[in-house]
Structure formats: C-alpha cells, structure tokens
C-alpha cells in the first residue's frame, strides 16, 4: 500500500469555497490537502466562466472568474495547501483518529476532519447521446486519455474541435496507426498554433479531417468498435472504420462518486445536496462538513459569498476536532499579531 499523506483537514473540491476554506482553517493553524478532478483550481469559476465578470463579491466591484481564483490562490499561499489535481476523491473511510480519503489515482490522505466542498459535483466529460455507446465505453470508446500506450498502433477517430481534441490529435498522431479528426464544422476553437499544426498534418497526408456529425457507433458485443457513423449536413451518412473513438465534447458537472461516499459514511443526501446545520455546517456525521454549492439548509443561496461565510463557521468547529486540547480564541486579522505572523505579514 502507498504511504498515506497526513494532514489536519481534507477538502474535496478546489472551487472558490474550498479555496477560501484553506484560509479560514489556516488562521486556526490547520493544514489542508485539496482534491479536485479538474487540473487547476477555481471550480465553476475556472471551468464555466473564467472570462465572465462577477459583481457581487464584497469589496470587489467587478472580478472575473479567473481573477477571483488567482486572488484566492494568493490569499491562501501563506498556508501552503497541498493540491491533488486531476484526481477523483473516490473512497472515504473512518479511521480510529479521523478519516482516510483515497483517490482514483491511488493517493491516500488521512486527516482529522473532512470538508466536502464539491459544488455542483465533479466535472466529468460530456457524453454524446448516441444509442448503445455504453457497451463500448472504457473498452474502445474513451472520453479522456489515461494511458497514451493504449492507442499505440490503433486506428483512431478523435471527435471534437477544442483544445483537448487538438492536443490529443497532435500527441497521439506519432503512435497511432491512423487518426481521423472529426468535427462538426471546419472551424476550431483550439489554440491557433495547434490548429496550424493539425492543418499541416492534414496537408502532409498524415491525418484525415472529416467535417460531419458523429451519430452512431457499431461493433461487437464485447465492446470492440468496428466503425463510427457520421451524418453530413445534407443528411447523408457514412461510416468510418476504426478500433477506437476518443470523444472530447467538454465537461459537465455530475454528482459522481459522492453519492456512494455519503451513503457509506451515513451522510444523508437530499436531492443531490448535503443537509447541514447553520451553526457549524457539519453533516449528520461528526467531523464531516459540507460547504458551498453542495450543501443545503433553509434559505440556502448558491452564491460564492455564502460559501465564504460557511467556510469561516466550519473552521471554528473543525478546530475542536484537530486540537481538542487547545482553547479556541476569537481574533481579528487586523489586530492580532498571532494571526499576522501566520499570514507572514509580521
């Protein structure tokens, strides 16, 4: 077994609320590890609206999703949070002294308390609504690349027109037997230099580009694809023979493993949300907290502002689990030299 990381608090979700929780925990001397399936911090702000303005963050008349994330990262820097990105928190067990979280990448973290800041759920690949595609998923149809080697010597169809589709087309082109890039229109939103590289490969005859809609998949009962079917603008269809399909249609939020995690821990869920009390934002299970968009209580508003407040109250209670022997003390960052030292400004 891999050796476990040890910390005070584990936070599932590195959205704005998970990030600010690091700050509130840090002021009370608690260290945190964060897990997020995204490859970067910011949650919805980073994935859904990085360039859009937010107008209701107190004292910031306007800030973009990206900028808010950057600022939070700067604010929590003194507390050295440890991030485990591109990993799904998959299992949580109670231990003698707290909890143990295991990710799908095999990372194991142990802590005294768990904060679920999972927002609207995990960001997961969008699946095309094609009949019968489930049979092939994980065998010859994939929505992400885990092992590049799996595509070695294969005839591949890559569907999509964004950065992921283009990056993987360029990355896998040298190892795959053949690649057909399939996109709905001859216009790519990816980085211009990737688009240029892709076009060069097409001109050199090393890559096939098909402008059409993916509408069907076919193969055998064991999940091995034989071809995909595309439907053109004039409604004619054609088949593209292939061994594997990689489809990149962006991400969407799904509850993911959280449902099973909560069930196992005895944390009740209500319509995909976790009920908490409004004093400590703790779930029905002591030591497990839920803050931000994932929680529910009477009057709940899914606002970043509310999540920040929830993080502050959560931290006061978490302190008692992490330092049962210490006396809790209320201080202002303005006037406490103790807090200022922690923030590295003293």
């Amino acid at each position: 077994m891999t050796t476990a990381h040890k910390t005070d608090v584990i936070i599932i979700g590195a959205g704005p609320v998970g990030l600010f929780a690091v700050f509130e925990l840090g002021l009370l001397d608690m260290k945190a590890h964060l897990i997020d399936i995204l490859d970067r911090p910011g949650g919805q702000c980073a994935e859904l609206y990085p360039e859009k303005p937010i107008y209701d963050i107190p004292a910031l008349p306007v800030v973009s999703g990206h900028e808010l994330t950057e600022r939070l990262m700067e604010q929590i820097k003194p507390f050295n949070p440890v991030f485990h990105f591109s990993q799904m928190a998959e299992q949580v067990e109670k231990t003698e002294h707290g909890l143990r979280v295991t990710t799908d990448a095999g990372t194991v973290i142990e802590a005294k308390a768990l904060v679920i800041a999972a927002g609207g759920g995990s960001f997961m690949p969008k699946k095309p609504p094609i009949k019968g595609i489930e049979v092939y998923e994980g065998k010859s149809v994939f929505y992400a690349v885990r092992k590049r080697d799996a595509f070695k010597g294969r005839h591949l169809v890559i569907a999509g027109g964004g950065d992921s589709a283009l990056d993987w087309t360029l990355n896998l082109q040298p190892v795959a037997k053949s690649i057909t890039l399939l996109h709905r229109r001859d216009d790519f939103r990816a980085a211009p230099h990737s688009v240029q590289q892709m076009r060069d490969l097409v001109s050199a005859g090393k890559l096939k580009l098909v402008i059409s809609n993916l509408t069907g998949v076919a193969g055998n009962d064991n999940g091995q694809l034989s071809h995909v079917t595309v439907t053109n603008a004039d409604k004619t269809t054609s088949d593209i023979p292939c061994d594997m399909l990689l489809a990149f249609y962006g991400l969407t939020m799904k509850l993911g493993p959280l449902g099973a995690i909560c069930e196992k821990l005895g944390v009740e869920m209500k319509d995909g949300l976790i009920p908490v009390d409004t004093e400590k934002f703790e779930t029905m299970v002591p030591g497990i907290f839920a803050i931000g968009d994932i929680n529910w209580y009477p009057g709940k508003l899914k606002l970043i502002l509310s999540g920040f407040h929830e993080a502050a109250l959560m931290a006061q209670r978490t302190f008692r689990y992490v330092y049962p022997e210490r006396k809790w003390r209320f201080e202002y960052t303005t006037s406490s030299s103790n807090l200022q030292e922690k923030l590295g400004v003293k």
């Binding site: 859904l48 609206y49 859009k52 609207g120 969008k126 095309p128 609504p129 027109g161 964004g162 709905r184 229109r185 216009d187 939103r189 809609n213 509408t215 249609y249 962006g250 969407t252 939020m253």
Partner: protein
C-alpha cells in the same frame, strides 16, 4: 403570455411566460414542480454550456432575433443533434411578439 414546451417524451406543456424572462428560466421554473421539464442549463445563461438547447417550431423561427455569433459557436461546439431550428433557450427573451412560442427540449440537456 404563453410558452409551449414539448418535453423529451413528446408531451406538450403550456407554460405561463413572463415578459423579459429567458425561455430557459421559464422552463427551469416549471421544472421545479414538474421533473419532465428538467433542463440542465448548467451555466445559468452565460453561453458556456450548450445544455439549454431547444428546437424552435419552424413557424416561430422568423420571429426570433437571429442568434449572435457567440450563440452559433456555442451550439456548434457544445450541443448535440443540431438541426436548422436549434437555438439556446437562454438566449431567447420572452416578449409580446413571442406570445405562443413553441419549442422542443433537445437531447443532451438532461440534468
């Protein structure tokens, strides 16, 4: 002011629309009490998800303001099973002119 919405099972619902609301918002409002109208609309109308995709009844198409480039791009990038009458319902604002508008919820918008 009425909005007619055909759900994924082909059933038509007559919704009381509110002037100035987006079609997506009206559908979502009714979906709170009728799950057959549930629509993901994940980005809340900021044109970044494509999960509010609807087909507009062809008779109504000419009455709508044409899609912006941003909407056309988003449809092409993120929506599934595009048709000529595909639109993003977060970009259609209800007004007198659209009283009686009829749309069908498209696949790929399930919550």
């Amino acid at each position: 002011m009425m909005l007619h919405v055909i759900d994924r099972d082909g059933k038509e619902h007559d919704l009381e629309a509110i002037e100035g609301w987006r079609v997506m918002e009206i559908i979502r409002d009714y979906a709170m009490t009728d799950a057959s109208l549930a629509i993901k609309a994940e980005c809340g109308g900021s044109l970044s998800c494509g999960t509010c995709h609807v087909y507009v009844d062809p008779a109504w198409l000419p009455k709508l303001a044409p899609p912006t480039d941003e909407e056309t791009d988003r449809l092409a990038e993120s929506a599934f099973e595009l048709e000529d009458n595909s639109r993003l319902s977060c970009q259609i604002l209800m007004s007198d002119k659209l009283d009686g508008l009829k749309v069908t919820i498209a696949p790929g918008t399930e919550p």
